[in-house]
Symmetry: C2
Subunit: 330 residues, 2 copies
DNA sequence: CGTCATGGGGTAAACGATTACGCAAAGAAC
DNA sequence: GTTCTTTGCGTAATCGTTTACCCCATGACG
C-alpha cells in the first residue's frame, strides 16, 4: 500500500553478501561466520524484513497453515475446540483457516477443495451430521477427524462417549431413578450410539430393567425434545429420569417439565451432555457430562503436527476422558 | 503425499500449447481460440488441475485470503459475526484466517504480524477491551474495524449503540419504570458510553429524572452484575427497571432478582443487549436489544472487498440498525 | 611439502504461476 | 496492392525464496 517491502536481495546487498548467505542465517542452517550473522540480523531488524511467505511456500511446499472445518462455529462446543486448536498450534507457527460447513456436505466439500488449493499443510475435520464417506481428496494431506469420520480415516479423536453415557445414567440410577428416558437426536451417528451403549451398560450393571417406550428416537434439538417430553407426559408414560445426549435437548426437557409443574430434581432428575454455558446458566443449573474441549483440541494438534513433520503414524483412535459435572438437576 | 500434482506446464504440454496460453484461458483474458479453450479446459478437468496458489500469489501479490481478529471466538456474538463474514466473502473466493486474541493486546499484535507475514489481502479487526491506539502496521493493507477502533481507522462498522440504549430504556419507561438501573462493564469503551447516552436520551425525552445512585460503574460480567443488584437490594435502593448493556449482565441481574423473590417483570423489569441465545433460553426469556450480526458481517465484507479491489474509500463510519426483541422480562 | 577436511560463502537452478512483448497470418480499409 | 488491425499464439522475464553444488582459503596431518 505504501513503500515497497524489502526483500532478501535488499538485505543481501546491504550486508554485502549473497542472498544464499542471508537465507542461511535466517534459517540457521550454518555456513556463515558470527560477524555475518550479526550484520544480517541487524539489517533484518532495522528494515523490519520478513520473508515472503508465498515465495517460501512455493519453494518448500509448506504453507505453515492448516484448515479446521466445523459444522457450526456459532455452537459453543465447536468454538471451544477451535479456540483450543488455535492456542495449541500457535507455538508451532501455524495459522488456521476456519471453515464453517453449516452442517452441509456440499459446503464442506467446497471448503476442502479450497483448503487444498490453498496448500494447507493439514486439516482438522469436524464433520456434519453424517458419518461421512469422507472426501478422499483430503487424505492426500495430514488430517485428523474429530467425532464423525469415514471408515478409512487415518486419525480420529473423540470423547469417551460410552463412558459419558454410562456416567450420566449411573448418576441418575444412584440418585434413585428407575425409569430413564433417553433423548437422542441422530440415532445413526456412531458417537450418539456410543452414548446409548453407555446408558444400556449402566442399566445392566445396576440391574435396572430397560424399558422399550423410553428408548431413543430421532428428536433433534430443543424444540423436538421439549415436544417429546410433553408427549410422554400426556400419554401418561411414567419416568423419573431423563438423559439427554446434548444440553440443548436437556434444556428442552427441563422447560417441558417445569411448564408441567413437575419438580426437578424432586420428581424427575435430568442429565445433559456437553456442558455448554447454557447448562450452567439456566434456571436450574443442570448436571451434565463435560467434554474436555481443551484436551480434544490439543491432542488434535499434537497428532496433526507430528504428521505434518513427516512422521508416519498408522491409523489411530484417540479417546479423550469425560467427566460428570453434578449440578442441581440430580 | 501421493502422485505429483499436475502443474500448468503439464497441461500445456498435453494441450500442445504454451503455458501462457493455458494461463490465459484459465484467467479468461482472451487471445485464444475456442478450440484451444475447449482442449485446455478438458485437460484441466480430466487431471483435476488447480493452479498453485502460492505461485500465483507470489506473482500477483494477492493471496485471496483475509484475517479476522476477534477477542473471543467462544462468545456467541463474535462467532456469529465470523460466520456472517465467512458466508459473505465465500462468493468472492477468499478464505479466512480466524484469530482469537483472548482480549489481549500482545496476542493481538502477534496475530497481526502473522497475518501480514502471510500476506493477507485484508483484515477485519474486532479489538479487545481497549479503544486501542491501533497497530499501525495493519494500516498498510485494507482493514475494517468493528466497534472498537483507533482514531485514524479508515473504516469502522458498529451497531447503533445509542439507539439501542434508547430503545431499551424507552421500553422500560413505556412499561412504567421510573427508576432504572444501568449496568455497564467498561465505562471507558466508546460503544458502551453510547449505550449510556441512549439511556440518558430516553430519560430526557420522557421527562424521567436521572438518578445518580443508579448510574453506571465498572461491573463487568455475570457475577459482578449479580452482586451489584444484590448490593443495591440490600442497601434498600429503590428501582423498578434494569438496563444491562449486555445479556450476560442481564442474566446476572435476573438471577439476583429471582433469588430475592422479586417478581420479574411484575416488580422489576429488565432489558439486555446483544440477543445471545441465553437470553432466549433462560427461565424468563429476556427482552433484549438485537445486534444484527448478519448485517455487520456482510457490510464488513462489502467494504473490505471494495478496498481490496483497489477502490479508494475515505474514512467511513457505517452504522448498523438495532432492534428491540421484546420477550417476557418487560 | 603434498593432501585433505573444514569453514565461509557465492552461483544458479528450481518452485509454478502471470504478463509484457514480439510475431506471423488473416482480414479490413484505403 | 499496400497498410493497418485483430487474432492467436509463443518467449522469456519476473515474483522471492531455498538449496545443490562449486570454489577458495586455511590449517591439520602425514
Amino acid at each position: 500500500m505504501d513503500v515497497k517491502k524489502v526483500s532478501i536481495v535488499d538485505i543481501a546487498q546491504m550486508a554485502n553478501v549473497s542472498i544464499a548467505t542471508v537465507s542461511r542465517v535466517l534459517n540457521k542452517t550454518g555456513r556463515y561466520s558470527p560477524e555475518t550473522e550479526k550484520k544480517v540480523l541487524e539489517l533484518v531488524k532495522e528494515y523490519g524484513y520478513t520473508p515472503n511467505a508465498n515465495a517460501k511456500s512455493l519453494r518448500t511446499n509448506k504453507t505453515q497453515s492448516i484448515g479446521v472445518i466445523v459444522p457450526d462455529i456459532t455452537n459453543e462446543f465447536f468454538a471451544k475446540i477451535v479456540r483450543s486448536i488455535e492456542n495449541s498450534i500457535l507455538p508451532y507457527g501455524y495459522s488456521v483457516f476456519v471453515c464453517d460447513s453449516h452442517d452441509n456436505e456440499q459446503i464442506e466439500n467446497q471448503h476442502i477443495q479450497n483448503l487444498i488449493a490453498k496448500n494447507v499443510d493439514g486439516v482438522i475435520y469436524i464433520s456434519g451430521k453424517v458419518d461421512t464417506a469422507g472426501n478422499e481428496e483430503v487424505h492426500r494431506i495430514p488430517v485428523v477427524y474429530i467425532d464423525r469420520h469415514p471408515e478409512n480415516a487415518p486419525t480420529i479423536i473423540q470423547s469417551d462417549n460410552e463412558r459419558g453415557g454410562f456416567l450420566a445414567t449411573e448418576e441418575l440410577i444412584l440418585k434413585g431413578c428407575k425409569r430413564i428416558v433417553i433423548l437422542q437426536d441422530y440415532c445413526r451417528l456412531s458417537t450418539l450410539r456410543q452414548r446409548h451403549a453407555g446408558y444400556i451398560k449402566a442399566h445392566v450393571k445396576y440391574g435396572v430393567p430397560i424399558i422399550a417406550e423410553l428408548q431413543p428416537e430421532d428428536s433433534p434439538g430443543y424444540k423436538n425434545s421439549k415436544d417429546k417430553i410433553i408427549r410422554l407426559l400426556k400419554a401418561g408414560v411414567k419416568f423419573d429420569g431423563v438423559f439427554a445426549t446434548n444440553d440443548m435437548m436437556a434444556l428442552g426437557a427441563l422447560h417441558a417439565l417445569t411448564e408441567a409443574k413437575i419438580n426437578v430434581p424432586g420428581e424427575v432428575k435430568l442429565v445433559g451432555f456437553d456442558d455448554i454455558s447454557l447448562s450452567a446458566f439456566c434456571e436450574i443449573p443442570m448436571t451434565t457430562v463435560t467434554q474436555d474441549t481443551e484436551q480434544i483440541g490439543s491432542l488434535c494438534v499434537q497428532s496433526l503436527v507430528r504428521q505434518m513433520q513427516g512422521e508416519k503414524i498408522g491409523q489411530q483412535n484417540i479417546v479423550v476422558p469425560v467427566s460428570l459435572n453434578v449440578r442441581r438437576t440430580t
